[in-house]
Structure formats: C-alpha cells, structure tokens
Symmetry: C2
C-alpha cells in the first residue's frame, strides 16, 4: 500500500450557523484539510451564509457531504475523534490537539481513514455522538474562560495537524491487518443489540438499556478492532445466538 496524502475528515454535527460552517472551511483549508462532512445542519443545505463566509475556501463548502446521522458520516472511517470541552464519564483516551495530531499523522501514513467530530455551537456533542469516537480531544484552556467557538476549535485542531506534517514515519506495525471501519463496528453492535432484544434480555431492566448499550459500544471502541477481530466477534455472536441444542438430557 503506497502512502498517499489522505487527510482527516472534519465532521460538524448539527451545526447551527452557516457562518460557522464557512469559518470551519476556511480554517480547514488554511491547514490543508478539504474533507468536510455535515450531519443535519440546522438551516438545511446548501447554505448561502456558509458560502459567503468561506471566502477563498468556497470549494470546501461546496464539496461538503451531508449525512442524516453521525453513524453514516463516520461509516467509512477507521479512526474517529470527538472534540469535547469537558470530560465525559466514558472510558476513552483523552488527547490534546497536539497528541491527537501526532497520532493522526501515523494513521494517515498507513493510509487509514480518520475523522474528527465537532458538536453544535450551543451544547457540543451528545453522549451518543461521543460514543461513535475512539478518542476524545480536549483543548487545554484557561479554566476560568473555556468558551471557544466552533470555527476556533476547528482551527486549533487543523493547525496541529498541519504542524505535524514533518514528523518521523509511523512506528505502528499492522502485520498486513486492516483496522475495522466504523461501519463494520456498527454492524457488530447492531447485531448484538438485535440478538439481545430478540431474547428479551433487557425486559426486566428496560430503564438501563441505553446506558448498557452505550457502555458496550465504548468498550468495543477501546479494543482497536481489526477486520479479523470483527469477523471473530461476529462468529461468536452468531454462535451464542443459536438455539440451544436439545441434548436429550
């Protein structure tokens, strides 16, 4: 596999203001990023204000892909990061933009697809959005004044990406293995959930169903699963889902 110039996608989840989409596009292009994805932009798409604000980066806006869900937006990606202002009660690694950029460069040198989620202006990413990510990015900020806007958050992450252009080659060894895509992971989750529901597993604990499922998704994200791991897990799920054999006892 040759090392190409693939770059991380910037994924804005339910962005509210077209101006901020335009500002994000400019920040991206300043630092060589062009793959903009939008999940349910509030004011629909296309958006004249985004185009007006984008100035010289209007191509980035006009080539943006629009999705209905975060799951769809990340389905082809192998590594997903979620930017959050505050810690979440999830067991996920937390990186600074600097550390995340170093890692992103290693992944993209291996031709692995990456993306970074940014939440809506008013409230950031939801817990479910963060669950779609492997790693959290938090910008170290003056604890007395942590308000930064969407365009600035994109700027800082894109800036760090660009500054790591010349770092030494990746040391990660994959042994011909391929990291699972989020679509493959999502299919595994859905299979497990469907099978659990079909068995009435949650019926006595329905109020805890969503928390349990989210914890499960977070757990699998931590596993850094390869394609072969997914196949193995799918086999296990399939096996467990079979009806018990009548052993004659």
């Amino acid at each position: 596999m040759t090392v190409t110039g693939i770059s991380p996608a910037i994924i804005l989840v339910e962005p509210q203001m077209g101006e901020n989409i335009g500002a994000a596009a400019r920040a991206m292009l300043n630092f060589g990023l062009t793959d903009l994805r939008l999940v349910k932009p509030r004011d629909g798409w296309p958006n004249d204000r985004a185009v007006a604000m984008a100035a010289g980066a209007v191509d980035v806006v006009q080539n943006a892909q629009v999705f209905e869900t975060v799951e769809e937006a990340v389905s082809d990606l192998q590594h997903v990061y979620a930017t959050t202002a505050r810690p979440r009660d999830m067991i996920k690694p937390v990186a600074t933009p600097n550390a995340a950029a170093a890692e992103l460069r290693q992944f993209t040198q291996l031709n692995e697809t990456c993306g970074i989620l940014f939440g809506k202006e008013s409230s950031g990413l939801s817990g479910d959005d963060v669950t779609c990510a492997d790693t959290i990015i938090t910008v170290p900020l003056n604890p007395d004044y942590t308000s930064i806007n969407l365009g600035q958050a994109v700027l800082l992450v894109a800036y760090e990406w660009y500054q790591h252009a010349d770092q030494t080659p990746a040391k990660i060894v994959r042994n011909e293995e391929r990291v699972a895509t989020k679509q493959e992971l999502g299919a595994l989750y859905n299979r497990i959930e469907t099978e659990l529901d079909a068995r009435g597993y949650f019926e006595p604990i329905m109020n805890r169903r969503s928390v349990i499922l989210r914890n499960m998704r977070n757990m699998f994200h931590r596993f850094d699963m390869m394609e072969s791991d997914i196949k193995g897990m799918q086999g296990i799920v399939k096996g467990l889902s079979l009806n018990k054999k009548d052993t004659g006892k």
Copy 2:
C-alpha cells in the same frame, strides 16, 4: 528575583474592526493572557463593538491600554515579536508560534517583559513596525491559502503560549545582567539619528536615510542588548559626537 506569572502583552497595531479587538480579547483570555495594548485603533476608543464581541472577556477589553505609536506601546518591554504572513527582507530570526512560545516561557520565567505585535486586518504590520521587534513569528500555513484573520492569529499564538506552560525551566543565564528595554534601545537610536542629522551625514544621500536608519535599528535588535550594553553604546556615541579637539597640528 522571584519567578512570577508575568505574561506577554498582545499589541494590536491600528486594528480596523472593533469585532476583531473583541475576538482577540477572547482568544487571549482563553489562554490566560490579559495585557491588551492598542496602537491607534481606527474607530477610536472605547469601542462598543469590541465590548459586545468580547463576551466573557470584557475585562480584557476594558483594561486595554491605548498608544499613539508602536514605540510607546513596546517601550517597557524587553522582548518584542512581530507576526507577519510573509517573509520580510530583514535580517531577523523567524520563529513558528511553537518555537516562539518556548522562548517566551523562558523569558517570562526570568521575569523579562515580552510582547507580540499584530498588524491591521488589511495589510498587516508595516516595515517600520516590524523593525520594533527582535523576532518574527510566522504561522506555517497551506501555501495555497494563507488568509487568516486577526482573531485567529492571536488565537494560535496565545494557544501555543498556554500549551508551553509546563515546560522545563529556562536555561538562559543572565549573570545578574538585565536585558535592555525597548525604551532604552529607542533612546539609543534616537541619539544616534540626532547626532548623524546634526552633522549633515545624510544630506548627500537623503533618499536612503530611512532605509539606512531602519537597517541600523534592525542590527541593534539582533544584538540582544543588555542594560550595560546600552550604557556602553551611549558612551561611544557621546564620545564620537564631541567636537574634534584642536590638536594644534
């Protein structure tokens, strides 16, 4: 001398839009900077738009100091940086925001006063403004799209400053010497210029006067002069300015 929390000043030279002054103040406070200085803001001062844009950082705006000239704005500083988008034909060190932040932390740990100049939105810093600085800061950007706005430039420099908070202590040794202030340097330049003019030095080359003087200022900036160097140079200038003694020959 104890190590205190002194932080670099952010100096906006002839900023045109109040909104950008407010955005700069927010970016400063996000990363723990509060010393905002303005040189001849276009729309006067105070400025309602700057206050409105500053949101939670309104104290930074309201405590801003306003100056008539760059020289006055930097007169109490010992180390001055100039942010420029493009290289200038001056012999000054050029640093990335990252490298500049590391250096700034070393200086402030020694309790030395620092500031960073940012030019006006339309055209950046003038050559004369840059001459007031010891070092140039240039943000590495996608060469195909280098347009960033004033607030973003302040954000990136302030961000790097904050990220270097935990670096190892300074290795610079000053041997009880004090770095000269820009006021002391300015007084030296003015003295030299006055003496040269008084002697008609430039009369045959009046069209080159300003270039020669700028080159001289840039040269002295490169010298990293200490207080004692200034005194030594002042002595030399004084000595050279005396009328030739009548030796009787």
